[in-house]
Symmetry: C2
Subunit: 303 residues, 2 copies
Amino acid sequence: MRPALFLALPLLFASSLCGAQTTPDKPRTSADILAASSAEDWRRIDPENLLVLELPKGKVLIELAPRFAPQHVANVKALARERYYDGLAVLRVQDNYVAQWGDADAKKPVKTAQKNLPAEFFRKLDDTLAFTPLGDVDAYAPETGFSDGLPTVRDVNKGAAWLAHCYAMVGAGRDMAADSGGGTELYAVIGHAPRHLDRNVTLLGRVVQGIEQLSSLPRGTGALGFYEDKKQNVPIRRVRVAADLPVAQRPALEALRTDTATWSAFVDARRNRRDDWFIEPTGHIEVCNVPLPIRAIKTASKK
Amino acid sequence: MRPALFLALPLLFASSLCGAQTTPDKPRTSADILAASSAEDWRRIDPENLLVLELPKGKVLIELAPRFAPQHVANVKALARERYYDGLAVLRVQDNYVAQWGDADAKKPVKTAQKNLPAEFFRKLDDTLAFTPLGDVDAYAPETGFSDGLPTVRDVNKGAAWLAHCYAMVGAGRDMAADSGGGTELYAVIGHAPRHLDRNVTLLGRVVQGIEQLSSLPRGTGALGFYEDKKQNVPIRRVRVAADLPVAQRPALEALRTDTATWSAFVDARRNRRDDWFIEPTGHIEVCNVPLPIRAIKTASKK
């Protein structure tokens, strides 16, 4: 009767990515494009650059962004390696905004890591940063696009680039001073992109798998969505750098590269949906509405 | 130590809206503006235009949009009045997308209401529609703004206006045909605004309170986020038009009017945050990032 309702990308991802044939006389959907992608269109997510946050009901995998926040990324890895996060908790879940975990009181001592770091709100625009422009206008910034798979703003006049606060992006909570964060508290965006936070907090990565472990948590009823009763806190079993896990436990994921013709075709198929369900073509897209396709690496190719 | 982290609007709303003084030499924050608002800046939400969806853990209040989807609104009210939704369930929760409830199989018979209606994807642009332009560019549309408190697109060339798929907007699920919806299934946006759905589905209102009852539900693991096991379905206790409830049970809410100088000042304070925490002013805002302030009407003024 009414099985389909409205079609969305996750279904397309869930379906087999192999063996689909493209009909030449029909415009390709994003699923068609992924199905026809080659091995070279994908990049392996470096386990040295992947954080594994283990919550009671499952894992949250966060790819770090060392080209945008090198000091914060190094510090978060140092915190994970000194077991800083283990036993702390998710203590704030504010609807349509963020979920936050770590040590809100900043009472837990650090060992080799730092409590606070200089802000890394933006970086210098130079040749070392690959950037694939999106091409659509943006309400907040002169130009948006993708660098290392991440939603990125480029401002040629300022000679700067920075990450955009899209859904699932991860940042370092801070107090009033710009240099009052460092990674002892982290947050992930679980609602409509709060782009007014861009260049106001250091973003250091993005959840590539398991965001629902954070986004479906009960909302806190205290100010800013903090849990009022500490019993509501969601305990962190442990946080590890994926590279430190035994091979059998190490997540093996690939992300679609964002500097290829396949990526451009994929974005265009999201900008102009060719799936049968759509009636009115959109013709535009916004940087936070382009998902990054992620897939498991088959066990045989696991190193 | 680190109590504030980052400041967000809900806290401001949670704080008293009465008695705050504006310091003339300091730019006003959105909280200051709401605190200084007058009774005339607010409008009562008409109980005849408010749907109450009762779930096991709480209520979801949906203000309907009769000026955009008159037939769908009338039909949803007819469905509520014939107790159509009672005993059905939330059966789909797709992360960063939608939560959906009703009768996915369209098997339950309707009495006075309709199963399917002609699409109401957009409406004619005429003098009967108040429209307050936002003034910022939009990735998807020539012009955005607010009508009756709702995020709205205006296209002068097309002579049309339509609602935007922002967080908490509610629409009528449909199958492949444009006229295959009518309100027997409804969905609410629980993620980043899926604006590609604009003009592809009929939007008929917005959750004004209780969206967390939907957004914090476990995500479905089936295709499109449907719950695979029917035991996961979240039962609907009942759906009522607020006007049909006994006065003591009837929600009494006010929304900030979107056609006043107070509204314009509020939007501008969201565009350029003056809260002490912000370091880099944004200078821009996007239609889905402007929240609609809602407050309870004091019992004394309840009719």
